[in-house]
Assembly symmetry: C2
Homo-oligomer: 111 residues x 2
């Protein structure tokens, strides 16, 4: 069948939802990049490529929605921890409203 179409579609759905998911995950806790990928992989079946995450986090920093800090480890590579800024929290709440609306709309259409 049209395998590529569905694969491609999934990738397109991620555009936008990823940002939303990341911000929501950071709402409750600080995480470092690699950990975010793992968290989301384990909790949601969504696989994020590293080449997707790091540029995304940099965009969010440029937009002042998140800040990052380096944390040295006793052993291993230092980790860059991300957390939401007040602007990030405000933006997220706007996104939540839109998402809830969208989700309801789609639910209506699907049945």
């Amino acid at each position: 069948m049209n395998e590529t179409f569905v694969t491609n579609w999934k990738s397109q759905v991620k555009k936008g939802t990823l940002t939303f998911i990341i911000l929501n995950v950071l709402k409750n806790n600080e995480y470092y990049g690699y950990e975010l990928i793992e968290q989301i992989r384990n909790h949601t079946e969504i696989e994020i490529a590293e080449g997707t995450l790091y540029p995304l986090m940099n965009r969010l920093k440029t937009e002042d929605l998140v800040i990052s800090k380096w944390v040295e480890q006793e052993t291993g590579i230092p980790r860059k921890y991300y957390s939401l800024t007040p602007a990030g929290i405000a933006t997220l709440s706007q996104m939540n409203v839109y998402w809830e609306n969208l989700e309801k709309s789609i639910k209506k259409i699907i049945k």
Copy 2:
């Protein structure tokens, strides 16, 4: 605040969801392009630009997910009606599975 960021994000969320919405709407009925835009605007608060819809419908035709037929009107401009092909129906059901999963995952993360 960061007005553009949220606006931009909404546009990105549409990538993928739009295709999904259109196919779902066509599941039950035939519609012509302009009518699709109206239907979705009225039922969902999602605004689709014409410059978005017509190329999208052509993509779906190229992928053999929908077919179209011209219908002459007694008065006014002829309308191009779209309907799902068997491949379209099959693809849609795959998409529905993914969406349900995604929606559940996001719901889990949001709370």
